[in-house]
Symmetry: C2
Subunit: 486 residues, 2 copies
Amino acid sequence: MSSNKPSLPKGTRDFSPIEMARRNYIFDTIKKVYKKYGFQQIETPAMENLSTLVGTGGDESDKLIFKILNSGDYLAKADEKALKEKNANGLTKSIAEKALHYDLTVPFARYVVQNQNEITFPFRRFQIQPVWRADRPQKGRYREFYQCDADIIGSDSLLNEVDLIKIIDDVFTKLFTDEKGNTLPYTISINNRKILQGITESVGLQDKFEQIVVAIDKFDKVGEKGVYDELVRQGLKENQIESLLNLLFSRKLSNYINNIDNFPKDGIMNLSLADGILNELKDKIGGKLNADEGIGELKLILKKLINLEEFKLGLKTANVIFDPTLARGLGYYTGTIIEVKVDNFPSICGGGRYDDLTGKFGLKDVSGVGISFGADRIYDVLLDNNLYPKFEGDSTQVLFVNFGEKEQDYCLPLLFQLRDKDINAEIYPEAAKLKKQMTFANNKNINYVVLVGSDEMASGKLTVKNMKTGEQHAFTIVELIQELKK
Amino acid sequence: MSSNKPSLPKGTRDFSPIEMARRNYIFDTIKKVYKKYGFQQIETPAMENLSTLVGTGGDESDKLIFKILNSGDYLAKADEKALKEKNANGLTKSIAEKALHYDLTVPFARYVVQNQNEITFPFRRFQIQPVWRADRPQKGRYREFYQCDADIIGSDSLLNEVDLIKIIDDVFTKLFTDEKGNTLPYTISINNRKILQGITESVGLQDKFEQIVVAIDKFDKVGEKGVYDELVRQGLKENQIESLLNLLFSRKLSNYINNIDNFPKDGIMNLSLADGILNELKDKIGGKLNADEGIGELKLILKKLINLEEFKLGLKTANVIFDPTLARGLGYYTGTIIEVKVDNFPSICGGGRYDDLTGKFGLKDVSGVGISFGADRIYDVLLDNNLYPKFEGDSTQVLFVNFGEKEQDYCLPLLFQLRDKDINAEIYPEAAKLKKQMTFANNKNINYVVLVGSDEMASGKLTVKNMKTGEQHAFTIVELIQELKK
């Protein structure tokens, strides 16, 4: 075998034991909340037929798909013309029939259609799996990363939106609250695609809807001036742009959204404020069917949440704002759209309602709504803000030092007694130097080290060292078990 | 969007909610045992550099690797000669730099070398992830399937082998024991590559070691006669073959292995019997250094396990047999080899010791030993033998029926009270016909349905139907919570 300096493909990562503990903490928290709301887990394979994945998110999305080379003599069936012309784009379909999924939503739509006769609708499913994108890797953006999706499909009730907002509140209340009870501030922005449509209609620009969405979607990156310039490039006239921006960024809205002082100090969102802004917008652009519908939907969602506050069952820590500039790319959204942000981080959770996701696979008119937590970004937020618990007990609790053959044979039954009591324990496998064994215990963050020499074997009292305090105690194995079960 | 009948690539599967519950039960059981023995979880990416994966398991293995097409204009850097000759094999390397891992062992070796300065050895790691193989799909064999690996690297102590055998016993005692306390019989076969070497040496065939391993590895499929014929084809002389088979399949050994009556009736393995057979073999082929070493290693492992029996801490349900015909393919094994079987199923767990897994990546002389549970086969064994628990409470426990806007608004605070008590609950999102809502509850296996109409709203007493017994009770929300927390 040739020597080979090991490395990983760019944009991919290993996860070490401590990183896994942190990641599992995030996944377990989300999973538990999803189950509390009646969602059931499914999994779909990493590989899908390429034809399932292409043409769903547009050409740009198609380029992000990792394709899997056919097995065996894949050139035998290759497109001759594309091969001769060295046309990679044209060749791909004939040499790569499979690909890695780039999100969990398209595979879910495929799953729903394929299993429509077995599924009881409305179907609440969650799915926590890696996805792959041939994106340019950069800080916080990977080529292999995890999504944690929950969707309700087969129901257009807005109660589903209420549940999803409550789920976001439950998850981040748990993840973002420190030992002292302080919660890292975060914001749930909500909007409705129909309001965006209404706004473009009200200034007579319904034909430019897609271009306008693309432009205002860049607001976060380029600001109001940048959006203005982009719309000029798209061929809009100055007065049109001004009417449009006036609706999207009226001083009050814009101040509200961008001024942290407007957020309630106690971390409880002000739903009534958002409701007031919706009323204002309705006055300005009312009468447009789409806008009225979209505003009505958002108002109903807010009303349900406000009602719950009366019973002290409202949102625990979330700030909710209505943000008419929230667009969430082009995507497949048709109603509510949701995005969650923490200062200095890109979106950590997002989602929305779609009316025809399964249409591509032949099942028409099935409405759904869903959200997706970005586990990798949440990971970074918790790390930066020192919000992880200590994960004690997750790793080895007890190490038996190994002084030699005789001591080892004495310790083995003790070790297995601990394990039978569900205590994570191990023995150092060799009679190495004591210092080496203690360093091992330290590096592995082991709480207790048991030292058994001839005295201990004679008396049955084990010397147990608490690695945190440095204290030593003499315990029988039964006493040690009691100590550990405290 | 064009209509597109949905399907999956062959050899891949979706997992429905009930299948996920069963799979998570298997993963969680294995994970808990691994942690009890001090193993720490890591994950490596699905994609590795192709150069990391090829040349580890031989040409046949390389063909099983799924390669990922380079992004962008992958033909720009394609091997001109291979392209012109339509030589797929020659072209691959230049158009596919990445590939999906086909096991977890090679990525682990790469991980260890890459992170050798951060790792504290001996390193006990476990890893539960899917792997991909371009194998011919058939019953029980998939192209995407999960492995659950545990390895100890950086220690040649045989205590590690003892731990791995105890882990197998713990895992299958838990998974294979039914409600009545009966355990499905299973067998842990052990052998040592050095014994195989000793046997081939003792008949003067050390130069044919690889061919002999390949031949006897087929014993399960083709029987003793088949192995004989294969060895004839490999050019061995009749008297050589007879000496060899005499050692491998001596009447006593062969009877022992193939006769179920030799298994102790109480499900406790007879380690002393295996020890006796090892002594017999030692007498026959003793003096060969390799064989003596291999026999000595196995005897030491058995001795430690026998000692534990004296403390009633021996194996709980495993039958252990010494099987000199166990070969486990060519692979990278150099010492102990282990395989676990249940009647009528292919191997459900296997592993062994390897002395130079990390050598390929430039780290020499690091010994390791590991096992891998095949989750997909274990899944089938549990299903066929009706060994899954009922998974109650994992899914929704309570459904609120939705009779309309007013009732809905009354029920929402009740629903969120249950959820705040960690009770999995939901409300049917629309005021659909009662029958439809009850069918939904039935299909989703929901235990309690709460019916709230005008009477209930007036009295505060909810009508709660137990879906198993059909009984109805009037409960306040507090009483319902008490009932559910029982």
